[in-house]
């Protein structure tokens, strides 16, 4: 029934040569960026001026005044950082708060960095010094960074019982600002977030932002396929909007219609397709039987009920299929099998 026409490898399309070639080129580019970046690297533009001449004084100096913060800090993740784990080489309080000598002498709040109240961009700069490779490269482009949401807005850096030092568990933490999304999760059709089977970060890469937006993966559809791999394809018979964007038909946060559809069948389908002509026909009033022995009770509007209730009763494979449908006139692509 089907055959595949292979495109020969061409140096006009070098990515056809295989993954090693296409990995090598960007790797060389990355190396070049790294070399130039190291040569150009300079001081922070966001650090308070008072810190430019300050020096590191060590945790004992901090503990002299902030003894109450030490227990939680020392038993927490950041309290146990060793020098080899810190790319910048600095550990302890001053790894995040900056050199403390000026503050220790003046006790002025402005003479040291306080991530809880500081400019979000400065806080990010401090945290990314160590965490840039923890899925945080590109944080500056994320909606949170641009919305002035600081790292300390979600994380309790001194210590937390929640994973990732979060201030609260998901999804409650996210719902604090995104109440509208939380409400959608309570619509009749939803992902099992309210039931505690999923969390927001299963889909949202809130730090990095992926290639487009804050969704995990190369593109929104790739994100969906990470769990719904049976709809991934590629298929012989395609349904165009599935390739285009899952959100044309589905509302991921929640919907009134089943299967997270943005609109009930058949109205969703009829926005791009027309109805079968049978839908305009009348039905008999009474019982009937087919030649094969199947039967039922028909009414005047039964044709509309049959043809305009749920398209997917017959077109079951709306996400795509390798199996040809029965009708020749539809090119086998009616997605009924």
């Amino acid at each position: 029934m089907i055959g595949v026409e292979r495109t020969p490898i061409s140096w006009a399309r070098p990515w056809r040569a295989g993954p090693w070639f296409v990995v090598l080129v960007p790797a060389m580019t990355a190396l070049a960026i790294a070399t130039v970046g190291t040569a150009l690297a300079g001081d922070s533009k966001l650090m308070p001026p008072a810190l430019s001449s300050a020096r590191y004084v060590g945790d004992d100096e901090c503990a002299a005044c902030h003894e109450d913060l030490l227990p939680a800090h020392e038993s927490g993740y950041h309290g146990g950082i060793e020098p080899f784990q810190a790319p910048q080489g600095q550990t302890g309080c001053e790894a995040c708060h900056g050199p403390g000598s000026a503050h220790a002498e003046s006790t002025e709040a402005g003479d040291i960095v306080n991530p809880a109240t500081a400019n979000a961009a400065l806080v990010a700069e401090l945290c990314l010094g160590c965490h840039r490779n923890d899925g945080l490269d590109g944080h500056e482009h994320s909606e949170h960074a641009l919305g002035d949401v600081s790292c300390a807005g979600c994380h309790e850096v001194h210590g937390s019982q929640e994973p990732g030092l979060l201030q609260a568990a998901e999804p409650e933490l996210c719902a604090g600002c995104h109440q509208d999304v939380r409400d959608q999760m309570f619509l009749p059709s939803h992902h099992p977030v309210p039931e505690g089977k999923m969390v927001c970060t299963d889909c949202h890469d809130i730090h990095r932002g992926g290639f487009q937006g804050q969704l995990v993966g190369e593109a929104p559809n790739e994100l969906c396929f990470s769990c719904h791999a049976n709809k991934q394809g590629p298929f012989v018979y395609e349904h165009d909007p599935v390739i285009e964007d899952c959100s044309i038909c589905h509302s991921a946060h929640g919907a009134v219609a089943n299967s997270l559809l943005v609109q009930n069948e058949p109205f969703l389908c009829l926005q791009c397709h027309q109805a079968h002509f049978h839908a305009t026909l009348q039905g008999i009033e009474g019982e009937f039987e087919s030649l094969e022995g199947y039967g039922g009770v028909s009414h005047r509007d039964s044709a509309k009920q049959a043809m305009l209730t749920k398209c997917t009763q017959c077109h079951t494979e709306v996400h795509g299929s390798d199996l040809p449908s029965q009708s020749i006139s539809g090119g086998g692509g009616a997605l009924t099998r």
């Binding site: 482009h141 604090g176 909007p241």
Partner: protein
């Protein structure tokens, strides 16, 4: 066998840690171990008929045990945390995180739950055509009809979803900031679901089956990352294998025959790819995907940062031998202009190529008068495309706690094989321009608000060209030169209307206000609105208007008790043309 392999990565990490290779330096003294246990039971009074209510609930009406255990401890440089949340054998959450010797971090997480699925009774599929009234006033039935049967009428469908993730991250000794990470994810969907199949042209008969679901997706990942001074570089490899292990469901496609006289098999069989055969239906193919990603980012002078990423992936449909390749590249730059203003710019490009497929069809009405036309064709993929996205964002701090944002986004999707303009078949490119303004403000202590307005213009958005509304019978439709009824079956090729669910103009508004009502209470109110329109269609204007608003409040008297209340209201209205063809014109 699977249970053994799913823990392999996690235990490899522990073995590596315990081998002594990762211990270095002087280990600090001190240890602590604490745990929490909770025993209880739960019961559900949800009836079977309320399927949507108990969609993710076991719904068992007998008493069930409930067990939760948490264990946390550290000794020297080593830390561990374990978590067990057990409802029953199908609903379970496990978690483990073990850090040993500062060099190894092994994580394990497992969750499983039941997803109850609907059972469509197909009760709407009863119809026989009315063609007039007889002498006695009775209805005269026609030949067209719709019937159904359910081969599994008492079937209760559900799928157990199981997701196991584990990873081991190793900090390479003597290379500060350099880590190796291996990960493994195993998803299994097993259970039964409903599948329906229609055997066409022997009347419309829909048959329902209970189908076995046995699907497994395995993701293996490898990451090498290093941070040195102000530069971070990483390489990541991902391998995904999706296997459909279920015995395929089969449907019998009855012998095609005329619905009225029943005898003339050729009349309908000559328009079908197959009939009188039992064939596999609804069978998802096995798929493998391999992904290579390189990322680099660098801190530049004056708090600027630049990032770049490149990804290559190949996805293969193993059943049909189809290959889809994707190349994605992204560049980004961010910089503070001064203490109040910050600017970012990014660009990404993504190219997809999918194999074309030669479709070998039976000839149209072979052996019949006017028939014999060759319907073979090549399916060119809609995947084939180049997508480009560019964004520029500016954020300006009006004063502490108050920021204004302005964003511009350009997006282009140039498809090789999807027509978008009925007047120009060569036009395949969608171009979208969007501008968005945002405001974030801390109005007072504990009161925060957000507002955004967005306007989007799209040239040639995704549509279905010639997807709806057929032309009336005319002299132009006569593909078989006067053969009886020939035009009926070509009629659908004379559609002239463009259907759409995507706007070419959109205005969207968002507003949110939240207030802490003391240290243990908060309230939130929001309003979202959107007006979307496509007035570039040849038959009608597509319009969609959406309003949603909500109000909620939380009271947390202590960490064990949370009171939450709220309500939301939403209204969506859309208008589009409804096209139904008329038999025989």
């Amino acid at each position: 066998m699977r249970r053994k392999s799913t823990c392999a990565v996690f235990f490899c990490g522990l073995a590596l840690a315990s081998s002594g290779l990762v211990w270095a330096g002087e280990e600090p003294e001190g240890s602590q171990l604490e745990g929490t246990a909770r025993l209880g039971s739960h019961v559900s009074a949800v009836q079977d008929l309320l399927g949507r209510v108990r969609e993710y609930d076991q719904g068992r009406e007998e008493l069930q045990p409930d067990l939760m255990l948490e264990l946390f401890g550290y000794s020297g440089w080593s830390r561990m945390a374990f978590e067990v949340d057990y409802d029953d054998e199908d609903v379970l959450q496990l978690g483990a995180d073990v850090e040993v010797g500062k060099y190894v971090d092994a994580e394990f997480a497992h969750r499983s739950f039941i997803h109850h699925l609907d059972h469509d009774r197909l009760g709407n599929l009863n119809w026989r055509e009315y063609v007039g009234t007889g002498d006695q006033g009775q209805d005269l039935p026609g030949g067209k009809m719709v019937t159904h049967d359910d081969t599994d009428p008492y079937g209760k469908y559900s799928v157990r979803y199981s997701d196991t993730r584990q990873s081991v991250e190793v900090a390479i000794p003597h290379l500060p900031g350099t880590t190796l990470k291996g990960s493994y994810r195993d998803q299994v969907r097993s259970g039964t679901r409903q599948t329906t199949g229609v055997d066409h042209c022997s009347n419309c008969h829909v048959r329902s089956h209970g189908a076995i679901v046995e699907e497994q997706t395995r993701d293996v990942g490898f990451l090498l990352a290093t941070v040195r001074d102000r530069v971070a570089v990483s390489y990541e490899f991902g391998a995904r294998d999706f296997a459909n292990k279920a015995e395929p469901t089969r449907n019998h496609f009855q012998q095609a025959r005329h619905p009225v006289n029943g005898g003339s098999a050729e009349e309908f069989a000559s328009r079908l790819n197959y009939d009188n055969a039992t064939l596999v239906v609804s069978d998802a193919p096995d798929v493998e995907k391999r992904t290579h990603t390189v990322r680099a980012s660098v801190d530049l002078p004056k708090s600027q940062t630049a990032r770049g990423a490149f990804s290559y992936s190949k996805t293969t449909n193993l059943d049909a031998n189809l290959e889809l390749t994707a190349n994605s590249a992204a560049l980004g730059w961010a910089a503070p202009l001064n203490e109040k203003a910050r600017v970012t710019a990014s660009f990404s490009r993504r190219q997809l190529e999918n194999d074309p497929v030669d479709i070998d069809m039976k000839n149209w009405r072979e052996g019949r008068a006017g028939g014999g036309q060759d319907f073979d064709y090549t399916r060119e993929s809609v995947y084939d495309r180049v997508e480009m996205t560019g964004t520029a964002k500016l954020r300006y701090a009006l004063r502490p706690g108050h920021t204004l944002g302005l964003e511009y986004r350009f997006r282009s999707i140039d498809r090789d094989n999807l027509e978008l303009d009925p007047d120009d078949p060569t036009e395949t490119q969608t171009v979208q321009n969007r501008i968005r303004g945002t405001w974030n403000g801390r109005l007072s202590a504990g009161m925060r608000s957000r507002a955004a307005v967005e306007y989007e213009m799209t040239s040639l958005p995704f549509v279905n060209v010639d997807g709806i509304c057929e032309d009336g019978i005319g002299d132009t439709i006569d593909p078989m030169e006067g053969q009886p009824n020939n035009w009926i079956y070509y009629f659908q090729r004379e559609r002239y209307g463009t259907g759409a669910a995507a706007p070419n103009k959109a205005l969207r508004l968002e507003a949110n206000l939240s207030r802490n009502l003391g240290p243990k209470a908060s309230g939130n109110v929001y309003l979202n609105a959107a007006s979307e329109k496509n007035d570039d269609l040849n038959l009608f204007d597509f319009e969609r208007t959406t309003y949603t608003a909500g109000l909620s409040a939380y009271l947390v008297p202590n960490e064990k008790v949370v009171f939450a209340g709220g309500g939301s209201i939403g209204k969506t209205s859309s208008s589009a043309v409804f096209c139904a063809t008329v038999m025989d014109g």
